[in-house]
Amino acid sequence: MIHMMMELQLGLALPSIATTHHVRGFEFDLNNSYVYEPKDSDPSSWNINSYFGSSASVPGKCSTTNSSNGNKKRSCDDAFDYEQVRAVPPRTLPLFNWNSRYPDDEDDPRDLDNNSSFGSNKTVDDEDGVHVVGWPPIKNWRKKLCHQQHHIPGGRVKNNQAVVANNGSACGGRQSNSMYVKVKMEGVAIARKIDLTLYDSFETLTNTLIGMFGLWLEDSYDYQLTYQDREGDWLIAKDVPWSFEQEYSWTLVMLALQNFHSNSATPQFVQERRLIH
């Protein structure tokens, strides 16, 4: 049934030199189609022209000679039965709505694998994060460089603020991969400096800090790692996944071992500018 409908609607007029030609809309039907027979003895002569040249001019080019748009629209509506076309409501991502086009195909167990998402572009989870393949439209070449630049401290830029890394990071032409931040502990006057890239988890970082400040490990449960982000808010370090930490660690202004039992809302020490080596 569907095939017949398709056949009727197939617009088959082939471009022709000999006859004036209209490419119509949907009312064009199979019975009027014909196969083009070139008159020239070399059947491909004028056709090939179309392939040699940046904008090939095909004689008798296919354009509707219905000059008024009203005509086109009417013919379109007639054959198309516009009302029946279901408008797909606006959506956020195209992963979810197109099942409505194939109402008979529900809950097919074969749909469980990757092939099943109707019309949806594959999403990938790679170093760029989770995103749709092919979007945004950026060449590989440029993406590669995007990544390389990010691993240079200071490859990230804050709006119009002089970034320390401008002068610091690229010195020597070598990419500096260390991320030094100042750490202060509540109640201790002297701050320490650590390289964040040396640690792979909160546990190791915290334990090292505990040791650095000469605490007993048993006491460590009383202390909590907090950091100040670029907006100046103090956040608990554990709430954020470690890789995020690594990626965005330049926003860390200060790590603070804060005594749980302390009543102060924010650590009481002077805010220091972050220090990146």
Binding site: V23, S54, A56, S57
Partner: protein
């Protein structure tokens, strides 16, 4: 005396003034004798789709060609939508041309798979070979380049624009013989690893006609000054890495070298740029017409300082670090600007990291009366802004807007951006290329079909509501040659109803749309001069005919189905009876 009785050589002489392919094609259709004369004196051919015609056919028709330009993969291959191994192999062409065009001088390839074997064949067989441009190509290594360097005695141009080159150890640059002094243009910017600096320097020194030199990142900044002093005649320069220890002697050396380059018009490179070294180029800024800072991670203030000194700038490629404020400065200074491309520094972030909005583009459209080509990545847009841009710049020819989040509406009204893009196509009557983004309904396609009569290439993603959208474009855009669509609810109806239109176009790409396998088959069967190729890496598409095809690539051809299709590409038509050659 009628024109048809003019002697052949007179006609040939007249034709030699006609360079454009389009005009040449028209000439060849006037009569048989003009066809014959023209085909013997055509020197340059451009094949926009390497599978549209066979190399043998091309050589048979145009026996005396000196310059060939070929394109392979569809444009969306740039964004990883075309799987590895899809095709676009140049070797069959080179093999044919080795015999058929022994005097070939120029070969320009885009998005093709080139092998070392191909390059070696060129070097061996084409004695007068002069120009090799490999743009976004892959599949070859520096071994192949070594062959070109060693054997092409008259090489003038070697350009590896954004190609993917394997680099096994080896010193290919030193394979240029000492007798090679003909180089005019060398672009190795895409090479990942080091080249021998001494070989490079010797090459530069002995090629007095060298006008274009684009270095790769591995060339240190400290050595740039030295090179520049050996080639003060350079017109186009791509630096290597643009960072070094902050030392006054390096700086003054560099600044001095730049000031000696009086002809410099184009600058690029600037990887790892240290802003402190930027002023070294200030002396050439007043003459610059092209500036590619799209790899330079410097911020707005530094960019403003640089751009404000380039009043003759015609083409600027830059990262969105330039921000609206930088674009305002650009609009104030660069009144000759024709082309602007703003690339995203963090395309995969969720939040904007810079203050670049639609305002920047509006300002440039107001301030730069010659602006005709735009590629703009941003995170928000409004219909008002688009209407303003359209009215400001009716001479726009290329307008590619990428709002990074798919289906982002007008940020002021939350409406679709149909009206905005509609204004673009309505006011910019000479628009040839358009890329859409943001929230768009079928309406925008109605505008496009109605107004965009000169549009040749359209790129669409996450847009439209029904087949009507696609129908508007296929039935209305008279000049359409390339249409590429991803993730749109376009299906069978519009495609089948406009089947004939597809033969007037170079190609159509549709991925993640709603086209059924049955429709593809029907199209392939009824249209012998189209190749209807379904790309599906998970298995034969007819094993699951109830699902829409994942990727569809349709292109016109006179050679029938191609013979180099990999296992995941299916040509879904019967064999064409019209097979030629």
């Amino acid at each position: 005396m009628s024109y048809s009785s003019l002697p052949e050589d007179v006609l040939e002489h007249v034709f030699s003034f006609v360079q454009s392919d389009k005009d040449r094609n028209v000439i060849s259709l006037v009569c048989k004798s003009w066809y014959e004369i023209e085909r013997w004196c055509r020197r340059r051919i451009f094949v926009g789709n390497c599978y549209a015609v066979s190399p043998r056919m091309a050589i048979r028709r145009f026996p005396e060609v000196r310059s060939v330009e070929l394109k392979g993969k569809p444009h969306f291959a740039d964004f990883n939508l075309v799987p590895e191994g899809w095709g676009g192999y140049v070797y069959p062409w080179i093999r044919a041309m080795a015999g058929g065009y022994p005097w070939l001088e120029e070969l320009k390839l885009k998005r093709m798979v080139v092998t070392d074997e191909s390059l070696e064949l060129i070097a061996k067989s084409l004695k007068n070979f002069k120009v090799l441009v490999l743009s976004s190509c892959e599949g070859f290594s520096t071994h192949g380049l070594a062959a070109i360097a060693a054997d092409c005695k008259n090489l003038k141009e070697l350009d590896l624009w954004e190609s993917d080159v394997e680099d096994p150890s080896g010193n290919w640059l030193s394979k240029f013989p000492d007798t090679c002094t003909s180089l005019v243009s060398l672009n190795i910017a895409c090479l990942g690893s080091e080249v021998s600096f001494s070989a490079l320097e010797r090459l530069v020194v002995r090629c007095p006609n060298l006008r274009t030199l684009r270095l790769n990142r591995a060339v240190p900044l400290e050595k740039l000054a030295h090179l520049l002093r050996q080639a003060p005649q350079l017109v186009e320069l791509g630096t290597g890495t643009y960072s070094a220890d902050l030392r006054p002697d390096i700086f003054s050396n560099l600044a001095g070298a730049f000031s000696g380059c009086k002809e410099l018009k184009s600058l690029s490179g600037f990887w790892d740029v240290v802003p402190a070294y930027l002023p070294a180029v200030y002396s050439v800024c007043s003459g610059l017409t092209t500036l590619n800072l799209s790899y330079a991670t410097i911020q707005s203030p530094d960019l403003i300082k640089l751009v404000s000194q380039c009043p003759k700038l015609q083409c600027l490629w830059v990262l969105d670090y330039i921000e609206d404020s930088g674009l305002e400065a650009l609009a104030a200074t660069c009144k000759d600007l024709r082309e602007l491309r703003v690339f995203p520094s963090e395309p995969f972030g969720d939040e904007p990291n810079v203050s670049l909005t639609e305002q920047g583009l509006v300002l440039v459209s107001e301030g730069c009366p010659k602006l005709e080509s735009v590629l703009y990545f941003c995170r928000r847009m409004s219909n008002d802004a688009l209407v303003t841009i359209a009215k400001n710049r009716p001479s726009m020819i290329r307008f590619r807007l990428c709002i990074i989040d798919p289906q982002t509406p007008d940020y002021l009204t939350l409406e679709p951006l149909d009206v905005g893009f509609g204004a673009i196509v309505q006011h910019c009557k000479d628009l040839r290329r358009l890329s859409l983004s943001g929230l768009l309904t079928d309406r925008v396609f109605e505008y496009i079909g109605t107004y965009a009569k000169k549009l040749e290439m359209l790129s669409v993603a996450f847009a439209g509501e029904s087949d009507l959208g696609l129908h508007h474009v296929l039935s209305g855009c008279d000049s359409l040659r390339k249409l590429e669509i991803m993730d749109c609810p376009f299906g069978d109806k519009a495609l089948l109803a406009n089947a004939a239109k597809l033969e007037t176009m170079r190609s159509l790409w549709m991925s993640s749309c709603s086209v059924s396998f049955e429709a593809c088959k029907l199209l392939g069967q009824k249209m012998p001069r189209l190749n209807v190729e379904v790309i599906d890496e998970s298995g034969p598409p007819d094993s699951r005919p109830e699902l829409p095809v994942k990727k569809l690539y349709i292109y016109r051809t006179v050679t029938g189905r191609r013979i180099d299709m990999p296992g995941f590409v299916w040509n879904v038509g019967e064999d064409s009876a019209l097979r030629l050659s």
